[in-house]
């Protein structure tokens, strides 16, 4: 997919561009906020990755203006300022995700994919991965036609994994999207939740759907 990267630090821009390119994306680069906004207005991008502190025009203003001008391309803001209030400011301006610097390349790639993939999630009422089915209205989950009994939090965890089926989601993404926690727990809390979910959706069935991606996170895939 086509990614517009707006970043003024040349080293940082080159690293991010190289990672995105290696992950199979086509990347265009803009070095300041004004240029980034005018390129984005021309359209044709699947995801915009925007630094917060940009010369000429602030990243948050760029998103706000793009949204006012009707550009709905998903935007990921990168920022060294990632406290609650900064994040809320960025999301309120219209950004879809907010990633604090420093970040790992895997985290960035997972989020870019999730953004692109999740563009039209709102209209879905049913999700399915292999023989695993989720009904978002009835709040039910079935595998091979057998009803699975999930706690509300497990349901949300599975829903997020199913929406991003086929893509790796990181622990940080799960924390932020499933629990709305914006800090790093020191312990392996997420892993234990995943293993509990796995015991419910995978244990009795031949094929495993929930995979651990070593060093990155998890992927739900048939």
């Amino acid at each position: 997919m086509r990614v517009l990267l707006v970043e003024d630090d040349p080293d940082m821009a080159e690293n991010v561009r190289a990672s995105l390119t290696a992950d199979g994306h086509v990347v265009d680069l803009a070095g300041d906020g004004e240029l980034g906004q005018s390129i984005a207005l021309e359209g044709g991008y699947d995801v915009i990755v925007l630094d917060r502190m940009l010369p000429k025009k602030h990243g948050v203003s760029v998103v706000k203006d793009l949204r006012e001008q009707g550009v709905s391309t998903p935007v990921l803001i990168l920022s060294a300022l990632h406290d609650e209030d900064h994040r809320v400011e960025g999301l309120n301006a219209g950004a879809n995700d907010y990633l604090g610097k420093p970040f790992s390349t895997r985290e960035l790639l997972a989020r870019v994919r999730a953004l692109w993939h999740g563009r039209d999630r709102a209209v879905q009422t049913k999700l399915s991965v292999g023989d695993l089915e989720m009904d978002l209205l009835a709040r039910t989950v079935k595998r091979s036609g057998k009803k699975l009994d999930l706690q509300p939090r497990e349901f949300r965890l599975l829903e997020y994994l199913m929406r991003n089926a086929g893509h790796t989601v990181t622990r940080k993404m799960l924390l932020e999207n499933v629990w709305d926690y914006h800090f790093d727990p020191q312990t392996n809390v997420i892993d234990v939740h995943i293993s509990r979910l796995r015991s419910k959706i995978d244990r009795e069935f031949g094929q495993s759907l929930l995979h651990t991606v070593r060093g990155s996170g998890y992927r739900l895939e048939a």
């Binding site: 609650e84 209030d85 420093p102 926690y181 914006h182 800090f183 727990p185």
Partner: protein, 468 residues
């Protein structure tokens, strides 16, 4: 600065002067009152007596004519009556009485008069002042009945003199008291100022003298000393924080460098190189986490513009317990909670969540396998909301509890476990931001394993709940 002049400029001395002025005006008012109460009263009484005497003689004249009046006047003048009498002809020629001639002449039929008189008795001439009544009787004769004022004037003069003496002494004493007070005050304030100057000059150990009299200067000195203690402590903390940051960052940086160097120095070996890089990355992540924690703590402590909102602390606590419970169970620890519903707080929910999560993680970290951690939340009798995270681990000795919440302080018992020693500091900072506090107490255990009970006490939201 010359002390004597400095003294005159002190507030205490000015107060003493004002007090002297007040004493003076009070004495003047008192004088006026006493004067009218005594001298005025004496005069009124003497006037009344004179009127009475005059009326008596007037009646004698009415009953017995001039002969009878003449007789009365002569008798009375000869007796030791306190009055002076004169009976005169229509033209002023004296018929009888104490004077050879009329000292004053009546204007009207009957008048109140004040006059000076001279009276010769043999060679003696007495001068005096008298006050009385003079009048023309029917058919012309003039009658004067007056009282020598020397007696009354003597009494009122004495009273006046006593009052003036009191006033002068009062003023002198109050000025002297002011000067002495000002001198004492100046000396004690000067001692405080000297302490402040010495501290500014770099002697952090200097303290203001406290006399133990429990007066306002002692209380000021105690406050100043408490402030200096706190300052010294903060300076000590920032010094040791610098050391602690250097220590906390230098060790992982050294390991980081060592791993990269070792990988470079050995012959290329894909497997070993990858392992070295993986470990280096881990160290880098640890360093970044420490930095993030330092920055976050600084931002919370700086009381930056956090957006406060009403939030349901009970719901957040319940979710946190559910969040950590599986991991705790996995590690062989029991995490349970008893959270009162509808505990509403006004604050920053993200920071509150992180603060409680720090307490829970801390408790899980220091609890031995098989141990238990309890999260209790309730509204106290004083209206504050208390969130207690209790464990049955080794706990913290009471003497070390204050230090445990300071930045970068890692107690001896905690040295072996990882963590930058910022967890409790952040909780304490979040508590302060919400105008609450973090209190460390005994936990669930007893004896050597007394456990730790960390109580986060926050004010409940005071604004009334929105209408439903």
């Amino acid at each position: 600065m010359r002390p004597s002049l400095a003294l005159l400029r002190t507030t205490t001395f000015r107060l003493a002067l004002a007090q002297a002025g007040l004493v003076l005006s009070l004495v003047l008012a008192l004088l006026a009152y006493v004067y009218f109460a005594t001298v005025g009263e004496l005069r009124r009484a003497s006037d009344a007596l004179a009127d009475q005497e005059y009326a008596l003689l007037e009646r004698a004249y009415a009953e017995g004519g001039i002969r009878r009046l003449d007789q009365e006047v002569v008798e009375r003048a000869a007796s030791d009556s306190p009055f002076l009498y004169v009976l005169a002809e229509n033209n002023g020629a004296v018929i009888a009485g104490d004077f050879q001639q009329l000292p004053v002449l009546p204007d009207n039929a009957s008048d109140r008069v004040d006059f000076n008189f001279e009276r010769a008795e043999g060679d003696d001439v007495t001068r005096g002042r008298a006050r009385g009544r003079i009048g023309r009787l029917l058919n012309g004769p003039i009658l004067l009945v007056a009282r020598d004022l020397n007696d009354a004037a003597g009494i009122s003069g004495r009273i006046t003199r006593v009052l003036w003496t009191i006033a002068v002494f009062g003023i002198i004493i109050s000025i002297a008291a002011g000067l002495i007070g000002a001198w004492f005050a100046a000396r004690r304030v000067e001692a405080l100022a000297n302490t402040a100057r010495d501290v500014m000059a770099g002697d952090m150990r200097r303290r203001a003298p406290v006399r133990g009299e429990g007066d306002e200067y002692d209380s000021l000195a105690e406050s100043l000393n408490a402030m200096l203690d706190r300052l010294e402590r903060l300076m000590h903390i920032s010094r040791t924080a610098g050391d602690a940051i250097a220590h906390d960052l230098r060790s992982p940086l050294t390991r980081f460098r060592y791993k990269l160097e070792a990988a470079l120095d050995t012959p290329p070996d894909t497997q070993a190189d990858r392992e070295a890089l993986r470990k280096a990355l881990e160290e880098a992540d640890g360093l970044l986490d420490t930095f993030a924690a330092i920055l976050k703590l600084a931002r919370v402590e700086a009381n930056a513009s956090w957006r406060f909102e009403r939030f349901d602390a009970s719901a957040i606590l319940q979710e946190l317990i559910e969040f950590y419970e599986p991991a705790a169970e996995e590690q062989g620890r029991t995490l349970s909670g008893a959270v009162e519903p509808n505990l509403v707080i006004r604050g920053e929910p993200g920071l509150f969540t992180q603060a409680v999560s720090n307490l829970i993680e801390n408790a899980l970290k220091y609890t031995h396998a098989g141990g238990r951690v309890e999260v209790l939340a309730s509204r106290r009798a004083d209206g504050l909301i208390e969130v207690r995270v209790m464990d049955d681990g080794p706990g913290i000795a009471p003497a070390d509890r204050d230090r445990a919440v300071e930045r970068f302080v890692r107690l001896e018992t905690a040295r072996s476990t990882p963590g930058a020693g910022l967890g409790l500091s952040l909780v304490a900072a979040v508590a302060r931001l919400h105008k609450g506090g973090l209190h460390l107490r005994d936990g669930l255990g007893d004896g050597e394993h007394r456990g730790l009970g960390a109580a986060l006490v926050l004010p409940a939201d005071a604004t009334p709940a929105a209408a439903h």
